[in-house]
Amino acid sequence: MADAGGPAEMDVRAPRGANGRLSLVWLVPVAALAISLLIAWQTYSQRGPLVTIDFENAAGIKPGETELRYREVPVGVVEDVTFAADLSSVRVAVRIDKEIAPYLDSGARFWVVRPEVSTRGISGLETVLSGAYIEGTWDAQIEGTQVAFRGLDRTPFVRPDRDGTRVILRSADGGQVAAGAPVLYRGIEVGQIESPMLNDDGSAIIMNAFIEAPHDRWLTTATRFWDTSGFSVSLDSAGVSLNIESLAALVQGGVSFDTVIEGGEPVAPGHLFDIFTTEAAARESLFTTDIASEVLVTAVFEGSASGLSQGARVIYKGLRVGKVQTVTASLQQVGQDRELRLLAVLALQPARLGVSADAPPEETMFLLQDAVRDGLRARLTTDNILTGSLMVEFVETDEWPPRDIDMLAEPYPRLPATVSDVSDFQATAAGVFERINALPVEEFMTNAISLLANMDRLIADEATQEVPSRIVALLDSTTNLVGSDELTAVPVELDGLLRDLRGVVADVRDGGPLEDLTASLATIDRITRNVEQASVALPETVTRVNALAGTINDLPLQDFLTAATDLVTGLDELVATEGVQQLPASVTATVDDLRGLIGQASGFVGSDALQAVPAEVQGLLGDLRGVVAELREAGAVGDVASALDRIDRITANIELASADLPQTVARINALAATANDLPLEDLITTATELVAGVQTLVASDQVQALPPAVNAALTDLQALLQGARGFLNSDAVQAVPAELQALLGDLRGTLAEIRDGGAVVNLVSAIERADLIAADLQRASADVPGIVSEVESLAQMANDLPIEDLVRAATSLVTTAEGLVGSEEVRQIPPALAAALDEIRVVLAELRTGGAVENVNGALQSARSAADAVAQATNRLPQLSERLNALVGTIETVVVAYGARSDFNSQAVSALREIRQAADAVESLSRAIERNPNSLLFGR
């Protein structure tokens, strides 16, 4: 080994005494130990105390995870969840940070934050994901640290660390306010209600209310809380108002507060307030509580004060100044007697009277004393008209004499009182309601309904619809008729016709011999027999009429008579009036005037001229006799006989016609039966009522005023008669007899001339013609039976007429008339009548003064000249006879024209037909009237 370069130099060293010494490597475990110990120590030193919090339940709490947070900063972790010894709660052990632990004292509050949804919003939403945590709150003072706590069951509405004042509210009813409800001050939320709970005896609800810091300074002893829960609806003169404080208040309820008067003192936390139901009650409540400063006075009231109760208001100028404290009875010295009077003790609030609440009572009394001297009085007045409650009102007026407060009165100074101003609304209202109750509303409604139904039917009826147009047409026709020339000419024609007829009859009379009269009588005898036959039916007719009379007898005439009696009574009263009393005198005077007039007339008759008139007449008759003798000689009588023959045949025809009479009588009989069946009772009843209405009318003042008017009219009449007397006395009238005499003389001359002239011959020929006329009449009379049958059918028609309906309609018409009589318009008729009488009077006066007598005078003179003209005319009498002859010829042709199938006949038949149609129309009209009688009056 040395050849090979030799072994390497041995580096031999003594081995280090490794086994004998400690190696440096031991520093490692030492360091490790040190580090571990350091960690352990650090852990331990940082570890805070373990506190226990008892909760109702441990929902969401997990050991090792659930944190305890303070102001949302984790300050601890739940280490353990166990049960309390009695299992009544869950005990949560929480490791608290060391720095925080000292702050946990008796004021610390813990609650579990969980998700929560309420009307006030959603809270704890973050815990939905992260899980619940325990929130804790405590104050910043290190004092009295403790390690066992009782957790809250739920999140407090107000964080305990918030600044503010917690007061206690008391309410009779907690239903309106829920936990968390807002506390409002002038509409701003300044706090919250905490959980309401029953008080110890269950008589009220108490709840904590927390008012936040800036706002709790408004809380004083004068503060009042009231309930603003839900909404309020008020209806007053300004309309309907809906008041909602806030949405939260609507749902959760809420309370408001305000300081209603100044001078309250700040309150300490825990002060007890009552919650009033309304703001008004809250404001009113000041008067119930501020007892210390009340000023007590008394007032004594007269009369009943049943509505005055303890606590009633005392108002002054509309402002409440106090209340009635007690109401007692008190014996008062009134004059000589002692009477029981009502003594009210009034508690007045000086603050409301403008006196400082701190001022001594004497100041208030001094103020009152002044006011009373100025006329202030206490009186009772109605507070609430519905309940009848009373209140005390201070009224003041200058009219009352100044008085003093009786300062020495017991038990308190007494204010003078005055008469109560109490309106008994209840009694009045009760009376009103009674009267309303007594009204026949049901009946009225029934009548009104039926009336409306009737009106409806009537208005809807076609006939009704046509009535106005028909009436218009009728009026038009009437106007045309009245205004027509023909109608105007009728009187003239009538006059002429009468004159002609008179002449004809005179002719006939003069020409009639006795033989023919006998035949005529025989015929008349047959006619009578026919009539007799007809009269066979008469008993029945009589029976009917009798029944009719019975019916009439049965009519409630008693009532009618009663009414009539009343009417007569009314008339009697009317007669008893002064105006009527004066009537006889006027009538007497009038009669006197008449008597005088007659006397004058008698004198007039007795005048010589008139005495001569009979002689003249005698002469005239003699002349006439001569004329007749001449006629007889001239064969006129034979002609007359033939004429009478004709007449005989005429009467035969009439006999034929009279054969139909029984039938006609039967018809009339039926007609009577119908009349018998008529509802006359109703008519009478209605008439009775009408009479009653008339009676009331008669009783009216206007009717009473009529007699004087009549009186005045009579006076005028009297004056008129006097005027007539004067007329008779006038020369002109005195001259009349002479004129008459002369006239008669003229007439005689005329007759003489007639006798001398060929007038008689002419007359004979005229009679011959009359004979021919009679022949024609005979032919014409053949149609009489037809006419009679027409009359019969007319009677049938009349029989068929709905007279009943008509009567009913008439009844209702009378009813309406009754109503009309009772109406205001009718009441105004008497005045109108009076006015008419006045006018008549004026007319009479005009007659008297207007030369009427002179006109009569003139008329007589005209008559005289007319007589002269007649005298002249008689000179031309033969001519007249010829003309008469011609006239008779004309009549003959007329009568011929009247024969069968003549125009006249057909005209008559058509006229009868029209009458029938008219009857139909009457029937329909009566139906219409039956449907609605009032239509006659109201024109519809």
């Binding site: 072994p7 475990p29 960690i39 352990a40 994901l129």
Partner: protein, 212 residues
């Protein structure tokens, strides 16, 4: 060096008056201080080996205690905050039914570290004795090799924590951060590895009965 099949005890370098270089294997005569080839110090038996073993072992055990007491992981999610120790995590895994993962974690985090403590302590204790039968000596060798091989795998827990902490950082939704136990555990593993390395396996050779 397979001596297992040889009933005869092998001649050791020390018995031959030589010192083997531990780095390059050159044999040098007893007494030479440094290797003539690589210059590394030559020791027949490393001086203070057992002291170092014990020191590292004790340090590892000390650090292992907080590693189990303190939370290994802080897990924050939206809904929960969780802090788990090693054993707690294993229990959780068992409760969740993840038995395989639980076993892996248990083996890696509990069984292996504790096994190492025990094995190293046993070896360090055993080499102080004299005359150990060959069969036991061979078992001791095997134990030493296993401990040295497996020691690095104990860091798997630490790796998991490191990787999770790095990856799961999703703000407030979910986040994982290592606890103090993770560091302790890593230290513990490192110290046991150092303890294993500090052990001189040639000490086991000395346990052969001195027959020649």
């Amino acid at each position: 060096m397979d001596l297992a099949g040889s009933p005869r005890p092998a001649l050791t370098a020390r018995a031959a008056g030589l010192i083997g270089c531990e780095r390059c294997g050159k044999v040098a005569p007893m007494g030479q201080a440094a290797c003539g080839r690589c210059g590394s110090p030559l020791n027949s038996r490393r001086p203070g080996s057992l002291q170092a073993v014990w020191a590292w072992l004790i340090a590892g055990i000390i650090v292992y205690i907080p590693a189990n007491i303190y939370p290994m992981l802080y897990t924050n999610t939206l809904t929960s905050r969780h802090s788990g120790t090693i054993v707690g995590g294993i229990i959780d895994l068992i409760e969740y039914g993840s038995y395989f993962v639980a076993i892996v974690v248990f083996v890696a985090s509990v069984l292996i570290p504790i096994g190492k403590f025990v094995v190293i302590g046993y070896l360090a204790f055993a080499v102080r004795a004299r005359a150990v039968p060959a069969r036991r000596r061979r078992a001791m060798h095997r134990m030493y090799e296993i401990v040295e091989f497996i020691g690095r795998w104990s860091m798997i827990d630490v790796f998991v924590v490191a990787i999770l902490s790095a990856l799961v950082q999703l703000g407030s939704v979910a986040s994982i951060r290592p606890g103090i136990a993770a560091a302790c555990f890593a230290l513990s593993v490192a110290m046991t590895m150092l303890a294993a390395r500090a052990f001189d396996p040639r000490l086991i050779w000395d346990l052969e009965p001195a027959d020649g």
